[in-house]
């Protein structure tokens, strides 16, 4: 349903970050992207929904038979495609002074006419759906609270509820658990995993352990190229290659 072809991106100073990344994503997959920090994992995700423009290559969304090229689109067309792609950010970016419910509702802005949303014209049905999404992540009771009063784990759950309400075909998760404690990390991933019934998920993770436990497929990136693309039973030697060490991202420092 999504294919990336020869994605390349240079850093502002001209050094190549991504050289040529290609892979296909099928419905129901939970893909974990691994790589050293600074290898361009986040940039790759941002290239998929057009927040960053790749220098070369194509991102093609093929949802219902008609393939749509994402990169190079502007304005209305780009927004129409983005509607189908949800994104969860590192440290969960909510609008802090809006309530949790309002934050979830913003996930549906892409579907609404600008005029209706400016007049705060969310329908009862939409509010009901948003509450259902909050129910699904277990924080319906916090719906009326301001987002800034939530804990880190609760914020990330609200962000997932927003993505559920958006109802995308593809969900991009940029280090969704990087600043959570182990208990919250498991909980968030347990919430994400069943979403693969409705959508494909591409996540960027720091810890290889999580990826092998939850993901159905792993893509390893090194020096701007895909060096591993396969099942979650990734061999240690491959992790060595991806991280350039013994599989521990911090290993370089201790050596």
């Amino acid at each position: 349903m999504l294919s990336l072809r020869n994605i390349a991106k240079k850093l502002p100073d001209g050094r190549p970050l991504l050289k040529s990344i290609s892979f296909e994503v099928q419905k129901g997959e939970f893909i974990g992207i691994l790589g050293e920090s600074g290898v361009g994992k986040t940039v790759l995700l941002r290239c998929i929904n057009g927040l960053t423009r790749p220098d070369h290559g194509e991102v093609i969304m093929n949802g219902d038979g008609n393939p749509e090229k994402i990169n190079g689109k502007n304005g209305r067309e780009l927004r129409a495609i983005r509607r189908k792609i949800g994104m969860i950010f590192q440290g969960s970016i909510l609008v802090k002074r809006l309530t949790v419910l309002e934050n979830v509702l913003t996930g549906g802005l892409g579907r609404m006419s600008t005029l209706r949303s400016l007049l705060y014209g969310f329908t009862d049905q939409e509010v009901e759906q948003a509450l259902k999404a909050l129910d699904q992540v277990g924080i319906r009771s916090l719906a009326g609270r301001r987002a800034e009063t939530l804990s880190g784990g609760e914020m990330q759950r609200a962000a997932i509820a927003r993505a559920i309400f958006q109802n995308p075909r593809l969900l991009l998760a940029d280090e969704p658990v990087s600043n959570l404690d182990p208990k919250n990390t498991e909980m968030i991933l347990d919430l994400l995993k069943p979403l693969t019934n409705q959508m494909a998920i591409i996540g960027v993770f720091h810890a290889p352990k999580l990826v092998t436990k939850y993901c159905t497929r792993i893509i390893g990136i090194r020096d701007g190229l895909v060096v591993y693309d396969g099942g979650p039973d990734i061999p240690d030697s491959m992790l060595d290659l991806i991280y350039g060490t013994n599989g521990n991202p911090c290993g370089q420092l201790s050596n």
Partner: protein
């Protein structure tokens, strides 16, 4: 061990000489600005007809004026529409602040570096705001009285213009300090720019918007009072009238009531401002 400054320079690293640090031995260099300023001051005194004699002669006149002001003639409020004029001054400040704040927000969106559609638009918007600020209200009212005519409408527009200049700058600065990440998360969900402004920018800047607008309202109350004197409508007109007709007792009564009303309005806006700011500190 005290050396003159130039000695120290010589004794330190041999290369450092007095001219490099701007030290001048020639004393006339420091005398020129002193003499210049003194001459300017004396010329101004002569030119302005300032004399101690006039001031001393004025002191009895002052007591005459004060004695004529008392007792204040409260009956002035039953003649004519004085109370109505006071309300008109309040209304001028209120509507002017409201229009000004709306215009300021619009300009701020164009002038803030993180939202502006392009560099050129941003530069133009910023220049407009600076120009608006640099023109005193007196100039505006003199022009508008010719264009629109005497009365509160001209005064209200002048207040709005002054408000745009100041609040536009403050709003733009508030917008520039917001957290950019929520904007991106809405953008990634396919939101349009107006939607992003409504749901990610506005919630973040609302407290600053309200606090600054109320602050400007306080200033505008005084501007509205002053604008009346030069033909902008409101209680200032009546005050000016009373003074030029030598009805000093009327003028005092009007002044007292006007000040009470303005102080009350200020208190109320101050209460709300504190509430808005206090809330931010708490959360």
């Amino acid at each position: 061990m005290k050396y003159p400054l130039r000695e120290i320079f010589r004794k330190g690293s041999g290369e450092l000489i007095s001219s490099e640090v701007g030290y001048k031995r020639w004393p006339l260099h420091s005398l020129v600005p002193k003499i210049g300023l003194t001459l300017l001051f004396i010329w101004s005194l002569v030119n302005l007809n300032i004399s101690p004699r006039l001031f001393l002669e004025g002191i009895p006149h002052f007591f005459n004026l004060v004695s004529e002001m008392f007792p204040p003639n409260w009956e002035v409020f039953w003649r004519g529409k004085i109370l109505w004029s006071i309300l008109e001054t309040l209304a001028m400040a209120f509507v002017g602040t409201f229009w000004g704040a709306l215009g300021a927000f619009f300009f701020a969106l164009l002038a803030a570096s993180n939202l502006s559609p392009s560099k050129i638009v941003r530069e133009i918007a910023k220049r407009c705001l600076t120009a608006e600020r640099s023109i005193p209200p007196l100039i505006y009212i003199l022009l508008l009285v010719v264009v629109i005519g005497l009365g509160p409408f001209a005064g209200t527009i002048v207040i709005a213009l002054g408000t745009i200049g100041m609040l536009g700058k403050l709003f733009a600065e508030a917008i520039e300090t917001i957290d950019p990440k929520p904007l991106e998360s809405l953008e990634s969900a396919g939101a349009t720019k107006p939607q992003i402004i409504r749901y990610a920018v506005l919630p973040q800047v609302t407290p600053s918007l309200i606090a600054n607008t109320l602050f400007r309202f306080d200033i505008n109350l005084r501007v509205a009072l002053f604008l009346g004197v030069v033909g902008g409508g409101g209680i200032g007109v009546d005050l000016q009238m009373a003074m030029s007709l030598f009805r000093y007792a009327d003028a005092l009564a009007i002044t007292v009531v006007t000040l009470v009303v303005i102080w009350t309005a200020e208190r109320i806006s101050d209460f709300f401002r504190r509430k808005v700011i206090g809330q931010e500190v708490l959360l």
